[in-house]
Symmetry: C2
Subunit: 213 residues, 2 copies
């Protein structure tokens, strides 16, 4: 079985690691700054915790689940390790409001996806899964109406790889929309501006921003 490396063990990274391991999609490696302490408190299925550089070395497919407002700096520092890899960026780069909700866009007129691709020219950056509550990423069928997931990236082969991963996570091929190159990530990242008022109105429930047609 192939392996997938997830960078970050916060709420999003942990949920994804758990789902990928439970579904048997891949051997799951989680890259964190303190693997020993994270491993000690982990209660999920079997995954491997390593420091970030070693974790990247284990897989061809790397998922960025670090906080979006820190990702550009963190991943640029890993430029050498990331050469030749597919980087699946599922984060959103927003400022943080006092109430913990996402604030405004960190890169208005651009996007984290584009910034990452520019900083990592020998890595194939694919933006996806950034337009929903994190619980929906790995359980799209749990919603009562079928959700949409968007994909943006310059490298076609990398996008094929990511679309296969989405299918493994339960996404219906009909609901996966390949928007085009990485510049189109600015469209999906902009959707984050809607999220605070949506959560205040609907409550903290699973949702995905989707296309009705």
């Amino acid at each position: 079985m192939n392996s997938i490396t997830i960078l970050g063990s916060g709420r999003v990274g942990s949920a994804l690691a758990t789902a990928l391991a439970e579904k048997g999609v891949a051997d799951v490696v989680v890259g964190v700054r303190s693997p020993d302490s994270v491993r000690a408190t982990w209660s999920g299925p079997a995954v491997t915790f390593l420091d970030v550089s070693a974790a990247i070395g284990r897989s061809d497919l790397i998922v960025n689940a670090t906080p979006g407002d820190t990702s550009l700096e963190r991943l640029t520092a890993l430029k050498t390790e990331l050469v030749g890899k597919t980087l699946v960026d599922i984060s959103n780069a927003t400022t943080r409001s006092n109430d913990g909700m996402p604030g405004g866009l960190l890169y208005p007129g651009s996007s984290l996806g584009e910034r990452l691709q520019a900083a990592l020219p020998r890595t194939a950056v694919v933006k996806t899964l950034n337009t929903m509550l994190f619980t929906v990423m790995t359980a799209p069928a749990a919603l009562s109406s079928p959700p949409t997931v968007f994909v943006s990236g310059d490298d076609s082969a990398a996008k094929v790889q990511v679309i296969e991963l989405l299918a493994d996570l339960g996404w219906d091929a009909q609901r996966i929309i390949d928007l085009g190159d990485i510049e189109t990530a600015r469209g999906t990242e902009a959707l984050a501006v809607l999220v605070p008022s949506l959560l205040k109105t609907l409550g903290f429930i699973p949702f995905a921003i989707s296309i009705a047609r």
Copy 2:
């Protein structure tokens, strides 16, 4: 029957005027700069064309269907006429790309809805219907999955009036999401950034950016 005034006779304003008149929702008044020439080429149902000031005088409910990148200037000039009215802003304020598609946001970190409310303090601004192809505004049931429509505004009574209008246009109450005050318009206006890549991918088909839950 009450009357509704629509400012603008472009593609969006004409579609809305036609639907409101055909459905018998209201007497429809269309405010334009050259009523005689617009009237001469109109082939739709019976509506009244007047100059903008006179058109606003006819109704309590005014719909802004002027191009979003010109709306703030145009409507600020009509501040006196708009006192005491409900202004339903259905436009999106984006720069224009060379290919005619929407470009970036004209008011990043804010929104046209907020700018209009600040410029027109004695008018109740309600943002809605700005997250879909214009054909969907008046025919939500034509989509194969049920679309969402969002409402933002500071004045509760004005929002009730607008939600009734949405119901008259065929919107299911379950799919109308009142996001809160006018500041929440920045969330729905940001969705415009997704539209160019979406239309390039899907083609020019009816769609609405919606919430799956």
